[in-house]
C-alpha cells in the first residue's frame, strides 16, 4: 500500500532510499521535519548544526570525504549558507550532495518570502522542484544522481504547500551505496585564485552540459491536451494549474534551472496562448523571454504570495472556479482574528513586560519571542534575521548617542548559538555598552523544540556537552554577565535597570525552560473578585489565561499554568492561589 507522507517526510524517505549516509540541517519552518524524520532512520547519521552555513560546510566535508549527503534549510537559511555555496559550486562533489531549500510564499511563518530559485542561477547549479510528495521523494534520488554525474551540488526547492502537504507515495527499499574513497585534489578542492580560475571555466562548461541534460531528462515533460492554452509551470503551481485548467496543455518542469530551451520552443510553437505560472519572481518568465518566446506571466499574476487555482482561473479564463459564501453571511461584526501569542507561563512574557515598562529600545530577533512585539507587550523595535539583535543593537547606540544606555538586544538560546556570538564579540571589541538579554528557554522552541548546542542532547538523542552561554559571554570579553529567573519580576526589573545603565557591555541570561516543556505541576491562580479593583494592570501582561469580560477580569484555570507573574503585577493582592481563595 502507498504511504501517506508529507513532502518533508517524503524527502527523508528519499534520502533513505537513495542511500544517503549523512544529513545535516538547522531547523526552520517549513523545512524542520525533514531532519527530524531523517533521524528516525538508523542507517543515516543525522545532526542539527548550529546554523545553516555550518550545516552546509559540514555537508560539503562529508560529500568530499565520500558520503552521499542531504542538507536542509528554510529559504532564509540559504542566505546564511550562501558563502560556502557559491564556492562549493566551483569545487563540486565526491559523494552526491542535495541541498533542500524550503520556501514560504505567503509567509506563513517567515520574515520574508524570497525566491530560492535565484540561488540556483546565482551559484550556477541545477535545481529540481517537486510537485507532490511522490516527486519530493523521487527527486532526492534524481538530485543525487545529477550531483554525482555532473560533479555539482544540486538544490531541491520545496514550498510550504509541498513540505506540509501530505499525499500518497510508493516507497522502495534502500539502495546499497558505498562511501566513495577519498582522494586529495588540491586543484579542485583548494579554492585560491590559481586553482579557482580554471574551476570557474569548469562551472560554465558544466552549466552547458546541464542545459543539454534538461532537454533530455524525464524530469521535464510536456502533457498535451487542448492546444488553445499552454502553461509552463513547476512545483506546486503545476497542481494549481491542473486544478484550474484541466484541459490546458502543460510543460511541467521538474528541473527549474537550467531551463530546456528547445523543449520550451517546441511547446511554445504548438499552443495558441502561452502562459508561465510561477510564485514570487518572474524567474522562468524572464529567461523564456530572453529566448525570444512570447509568454504571459507577471503581467497577470502577482509578484507576492501564493498562487491559487481560483486566481489562475480568474486571470486566464476570466472567472474564478468558486464563489465565497461570505456574501451570504449575515454578520453584525467582523470575525475577531486569532493571532498567535506567547503561551500562558511563557518565560519571555515578563522580560518584554519589563522592557516595555522601562521604555527600552529593543533590538529583536527570530523565535517565539518575536511575539513580544505584539500588543500589549509592544516591546520590540526591530526584527530582521537570525542573530541580528545584538549587532543591530550596537548600531543603534553608535548611530544615535542619545540612545546609549537605552538599548537592549533580545536573543534566544538557539539563535545565540546560531549567529549571536559574533555580534557580541563586536560589541566588546568596538567598546559598545549594549545590554544583551539571552532568553534561554533551553530549547529551539518556535520550530517545535529541537535540540541545539546548549541543550546537552544531539538530534539522534545522544547525550553531549551542553555549551555554557554565560561562560561563552565571559570568554568573549563581557565582564558583566548575570543570570535571572524571569518569573521573578522584581529581580528582573532591577537587573535590567542596572545592566542597561552599565558603561560597558553586559549580558543578562533570563533562564527558564519553555512553558510547554515544563511538566512540573504548579498550583493555578484565580482572581479574588472582592479585592480586584478592575485596574487592568494584569492585562498588560497579555497572558491568554487572563480574560477581560466587560470590566471584570478572571483567570481561565484551564489555561493557567501557575507561573505567578501576574500575582507580582497586581497591586491589590487580588490574584491568589486557587486553593487559598476561600481561606
Amino acid at each position: 500500500m502507498k504511504k501517506l507522507l508529507s513532502g518533508n517526510e517524503a524527502i527523508a524517505r528519499g534520502a533513505y532510499e537513495a542511500g544517503v549516509h549523512f544529513a545535516v540541517a538547522y531547523p526552520g519552518t517549513p523545512s524542520t521535519e525533514i531532519l527530524e524524520d531523517v533521524a528516525t532512520y538508523d542507517e543515516i547519521d543525522a545532526q542539527w548544526s548550529s546554523n545553516e552555513k555550518v550545516a552546509l560546510e559540514v555537508g560539503i566535508g562529508a560529500a568530499l570525504a565520500g558520503s552521499r549527503v542531504l542538507v536542509a534549510m528554510k529559504h532564509v537559511g540559504v542566505n546564511v549558507a550562501t558563502d560556502p555555496l557559491m564556492t562549493f559550486s566551483y569545487i563540486g562533489v565526491n559523494g552526491g550532495l542535495v541541498l533542500v531549500a524550503a520556501d514560504d510564499p505567503g509567509m506563513h511563518s517567515s520574515q520574508n518570502e524570497q525566491d530560492s530559485r535565484q540561488y540556483a542561477r546565482f551559484a550556477k547549479i541545477p535545481m529540481l522542484e517537486p510537485a507532490d510528495s511522490q516527486e519530493a521523494k523521487d527527486f532526492v534520488q534524481s538530485a543525487l544522481e545529477i550531483s554525482e554525474e555532473f560533479d555539482t551540488p544540486v538544490m531541491l526547492k520545496t514550498s510550504t504547500r509541498i513540505s506540509h502537504a501530505q499525499s500518497l507515495v510508493s516507497v522502495r527499499e534502500r539502495a546499497d551505496i558505498a562511501i566513495r574513497p577519498y582522494e586529495k585534489d588540491m586543484s579542485k578542492h583548494v579554492m585560491m585564485p590559481a586553482y579557482a580560475r580554471p574551476r570557474h571555466v569548469a562551472v560554465e562548461e558544466r552549466l552547458e552540459f546541464l542545459r543539454e541534460y534538461a532537454e533530455q531528462t524525464t524530469l521535464n515533460r510536456i502533457e498535451w491536451r487542448q492546444k488553445k492554452i499552454g502553461v509552463i509551470c513547476a512545483g506546486i503551481c503545476y497542481q494549481q494549474v491542473r486544478e484550474a485548467l484541466p484541459d490546458a496543455s502543460v510543460l511541467k518542469l521538474g528541473m527549474c534551472y537550467p531551463l530546456p530551451t528547445k523543449l520550451l520552443a517546441e511547446f511554445a510553437a504548438n499552443v495558441d496562448q502561452l502562459y508561465v505560472v510561477e510564485e514570487l519572481d518572474p524567474f522562468m518568465e524572464e529567461q523564456i523571454k530572453v529566448m525570444g518566446i512570447e509568454v504571459q506571466g507577471k503581467g497577470l499574476f502577482p509578484l507576492t504570495g501564493e498562487i491559487s487555482p481560483n486566481l489562475i482561473a480568474k486571470k486566464i479564463l476570466g472567472q474564478p472556479l468558486t464563489q465565497s459564501l461570505a456574501a451570504d453571511m449575515d454578520s453584525e461584526a467582523p470575525v475577531p482574528a486569532r493571532p498567535p501569542v506567547l503561551c500562558p507561563g511563557c518565560p519571555h512574557r515578563s522580560v518584554f513586560y519589563t522592557l516595555h515598562k522601562q521604555k527600552m529600545v529593543v533590538s529583536g530577533d527570530i523565535g517565539c519571542y518575536t511575539l513580544g512585539a505584539l500588543q500589549p507587550l509592544d516591546a520590540m523595535d526591530t526584527c530582521i534575521c537570525m542573530g541580528a539583535s545584538i549587532s543591530t543593537g550596537l548600531g543603534f547606540e553608535k548611530g544615535n548617542p542619545a540612545l546609549k544606555g537605552k538599548v537592549a538586544a533580545v536573543i534566544g538560546d538557539s539563535t545565540f548559538f546560531h549567529s549571536g556570538m559574533t555580534g557580541l564579540a563586536d560589541v566588546v571589541y568596538n567598546q559598545g555598552t549594549t545590554l544583551t538579554m539571552v532568553l534561554d528557554n533551553r530549547i529551539t522552541a518556535m520550530t517545535g523544540h529541537q535540540h541545539h548546542p546548549g541543550t546537552g542532547s544531539t538530534l539522534k538523542g545522544n547525550p553531549t556537552v551542553a555549551l555554557d552561554i554565560g561562560a561563552i559571554c565571559r570568554a568573549l570579553g563581557v565582564k558583566r554577565v548575570r543570570e535571572v529567573d524571569p518569573y521573578d519580576l522584581a529581580a528582573l526589573d532591577a537587573v535590567i535597570r542596572e545592566e542597561a545603565a552599565a558603561p560597558e557591555p553586559s549580558v543578562i541570561i533570563a533562564r527558564r525552560a519553555c512553558a510547554l516543556l515544563d511538566k512540573s505541576i504548579k498550583e493555578v491562580y484565580v482572581i479574588d473578585t472582592e479585592r480586584c479593583i478592575s485596574c487592568g494592570l494584569c492585562m498588560k501582561l497579555g497572558c491568554p489565561a487572563i480574560v477581560k469580560d466587560n470590566k471584570t477580569m478572571s483567570i481561565d484555570v484551564s489555561l493557567c499554568v501557575g507561573c505567578g507573574v501576574c500575582v507580582q503585577v497586581c497591586r491589590s493582592n487580588a490574584i491568589v492561589k486557587a486553593g487559598d481563595q476561600d481561606a
Binding site: 500500500m1 501517506l4 491559487s308 464563489q323 465565497s324 461570505a326 449575515d330 453584525e332 475577531p336
Partner: protein
Amino acid sequence: MPKTTSILMGGVGGQGIVLASKILAHVIQAHDFDLKISEIHGMAQRGGSVLTYIRFGEVVHSPLIEPGQADYVMASEKLEAWRWLPYLHSGGTMVCSTQEIKPVPVIMGLQKYPHNIEKAMQTMVAKGTLGKLYAINALAVARECGQPKAANVALIGVLAHCLQFPLASFEEALEAIVPARFLAANKKAFLAGYQYFTDI
C-alpha cells in the same frame, strides 16, 4: 471525472485537529482514493487558528481549498466555524462544536466575540445557502464519555455519519491511530457523535 470531495477542518491550537485529520485520512486511504492533506504549522502552537484541508477523489491536484469550494467544514470551536464558513460552497454542510474559546483580541477586551453565530447559521440554512448545520457541544459529549480530549473525535463521528464510508472503517481507523489506553473513551465519543443526529 468524478468530483473531488473537499473537507476543511478548523480549530484552535491544541484541540487535536491533526488527530482528527489522521483518522479521516486512514478511512479515505482504506477506500483507495487519491488523497491530499494540507496543514499550516508554524505559529499555530501558540494559540492561533489551526487549519487542515482534506481532499479526496480519483485524482486530486491542488492541496488547497478555496472560499466557496468545501463540501464540509468541521470546526471544533464556534468562532472558527464562522471564520471558515465562507469556504463552504452554497448548500455545503457545517459540522461544528458550540464550544467557545476566546481569542486574544477578545480576551483583551478590544473586540467582541460574536454572540449570534448559531442563529446566523440557522438563518442561512433556512435560506438554503447553508445546506446542513450539525452543531453539538462536542466538549460536553466527550466529557460524558470520560475523555474531554476526545471532543474532536465526537465531531468526527458527526462528520462520519454525513460521509459515505461504512462505520466499521472508522472503527478500524480509531483502533489504528488512537493509543490503546484512550481507545475505549474515544470509541464511545465517536459513536456518541455518530448517533447524535438521527436526520442525517
